[in-house]
């Protein structure tokens, strides 16, 4: 994959129960961009992310990751370059220990054991949880679990990171650490979230979804300052832009 453009062109998707989740989504995201996907519940954020890693395939339209269209034949190649962090870390951490979970992806890439070890160490160091390597995932705190989930994806050395509600159920300190990691990564980052303050800090660009359609796509600071746009999409101004001061 020579460059890491992610694009959707006229993408429609209808769930098996007939519910239309995406209704003609178009966008192009370039290498190294950090993009926030925001919208109310049911706007299609998670469905959109699932398309980018081929867990759902478009009913109509074209999804491309780099040079590859996302089709059943290209999934292995696509998933080698795209790392997906699920909303619930419990879904992502299925191995008995954190280190084994982080090693799961590199082992599936048939890398030599020394390289797997190197990647596990690097991924755990990157999110500061090397000391948790031998712990069972179910014994970790919410923040530690989130860090481990991100490490499992970093160990794949992906070019593109997809994160679904990465800050949900995190305490403020864990959320702050998460924002630090996300800001420091140089990967292409696509973050679906309700946490508009996180988007403000991490993503220079934002895509607003409503009813499975892109209703706005542009500079984060401009879009997230637009009260009318946000309220129309079932959102509200980020706390930082609400002008709240203590005692008011």
């Amino acid at each position: 994959m020579s460059h890491h453009i992610v694009s959707m062109q006229g993408v429609h998707f209808v769930y098996a129960d007939g519910h239309p989740a995406l209704n003609g989504v178009d966008f192009t995201i370039h290498h190294g961009e950090a993009v926030g996907i925001v919208g109310a519940n049911g706007a299609g954020k998670s469905t959109l992310l699932l398309h980018l890693v081929g867990l759902l395939l478009a009913t109509e339209g074209m999804v491309r990751v780099g040079d590859c269209p996302v089709t059943p034949k290209t999934l292995v190649e696509i998933r080698r370059h795209v790392g997906f962090v699920f909303q619930d870390p419990n879904d992502q951490l299925f191995m008995p220990t954190v280190a084994e979970d982080v090693a799961f992806g590199p082992l599936n890439q048939h890398l030599p054991e020394a390289e797997v070890d190197r990647r596990v160490k690097a991924a755990l160091d990157c999110v500061g949880i090397a000391h948790l390597a031998d712990r069972a995932p179910h014994r970790l705190s919410g923040g530690e679990r989130r860090a481990a989930a991100i490490a499992t994806v970093l160990a794949l050395d992906p070019d593109i990171l997809l994160l679904d509600e990465p800050s949900s159920a995190l305490d403020p300190a864990s959320r702050r650490r998460l924002i630090g990691w996300l800001s420091s990564f140089t990967h292409t980052r696509i973050i679906a979230t309700h946490d508009l303050d996180l988007v403000l800090e991490v993503c220079p660009r934002t895509i607003v979804l409503q009813g499975g359609k892109v209703i706005a796509d542009g500079v984060t600071e401009e879009l997230l300052a637009d009260r009318g746009l946000l309220e129309g999409a079932g959102l509200e101004l980020p706390l930082r832009m609400q002008g709240w001061t203590p005692g008011r």
Binding site: P96, E100, F104, N108, P137
Partner: protein, 264 residues
């Protein structure tokens, strides 16, 4: 804390014990699995009226627990939880097996002997399995079973069952708590229990799908690959040979009877 929470914490406590550094935890998991299997075969091979002959195995367990630094209360507490099942199995023996046997100066129904034998063998078997888990950990046991020839699909199932047992347990616990808070202390009615179970089943399927998707995203192709961290050495060979030799001795020679004159 609900009964389920306590049960899960019991399982987690065994995993914690297995993470410590002791002479037994340092042994290769395969060696411990082989010895456990040999122990179980030995225990199962005793006749139903042989009560005294297996007793030296208890000495073996005591020694192993000392080497593994496993507190007795950990094993005995779990034994107490499981013992009603064994009692249920053997409790009718004194009635149905009424022929009389001579036991030293006493004449008793043979069923009492078989009841004691069942409880003894059940306790020995459970204790060795608990010892294995407390010195090895469930994941290492599963890996060892895989390396010893257990089908990969079963190993994967054991691993996932162990991992998601905790998640499922926590989910049931939350459900029960939510019910308790709105049920004025009453147990769930049949229709409520049915819909709770149905909800749990659907949620489990949804989670299984998400876990599978997460695995696919990281290149899963049907085989769970793990890094090999097992090395059989001379110490492991000595442990296997010494232990199985002792089991054979206990099985072939009635040591308590042999040693009786020494202690009398």
């Amino acid at each position: 804390m609900t009964y389920l929470d306590r049960a899960l914490s019991h399982v987690a406590a065994l995993d914690d014990l297995a993470r410590r550094e002791t002479p037994l935890t340092r042994l290769d998991p395969r060696a411990k699995v082989i010895v456990t299997f040999a122990f179980l075969v030995t225990v199962a091979s005793f006749g139903r009226h042989q009560v005294s002959q297996p007793l030296p195995l208890l000495v073996y367990l005591a020694a192993a627990m000392a080497f593994g630094d496993i507190p007795w209360r950990v094993v005995l507490a779990r034994l107490a939880i499981a013992s009603p099942f064994a009692i249920l199995v053997g409790m009718w023996n004194p009635i149905f097996e009424a022929q009389l046997v001579q036991l030293g100066p006493w004449t008793i129904a043979a069923g009492w002997l078989s009841l004691v034998s069942i409880l003894e063998r059940f306790s020995l078997a459970l204790m060795i399995v608990l010892l294995l888990l407390a010195t090895t950990g469930m994941d290492a046991v599963a890996a060892a079973l895989g390396r010893l020839g257990m089908p990969r699909v079963l190993v994967t199932q054991v691993l996932l069952l162990h991992r998601y047992g905790f998640v499922l347990g926590a989910e049931i616990s939350r459900m029960m708590r939510a019910h308790l808070l709105r049920a004025a202390g009453r147990a769930p009615e049949l229709s409520t229990a049915r819909s709770m179970l149905g909800g749990l089943f659907l949620r489990s399927i949804a989670r299984a799908e998400r876990v599978h998707e997460a695995m696919l995203c990281r290149g899963f192709d049907g085989v769970v690959r793990r890094r090999s961290r097992m090395h059989l050495g001379a110490r492991d060979a000595l442990f296997v040979c010494g232990s199985t030799g002792f089991f054979a001795l206990v099985r072939l020679v009635d040591l308590p009877r042999l040693l009786e004159p020494v202690f009398s």
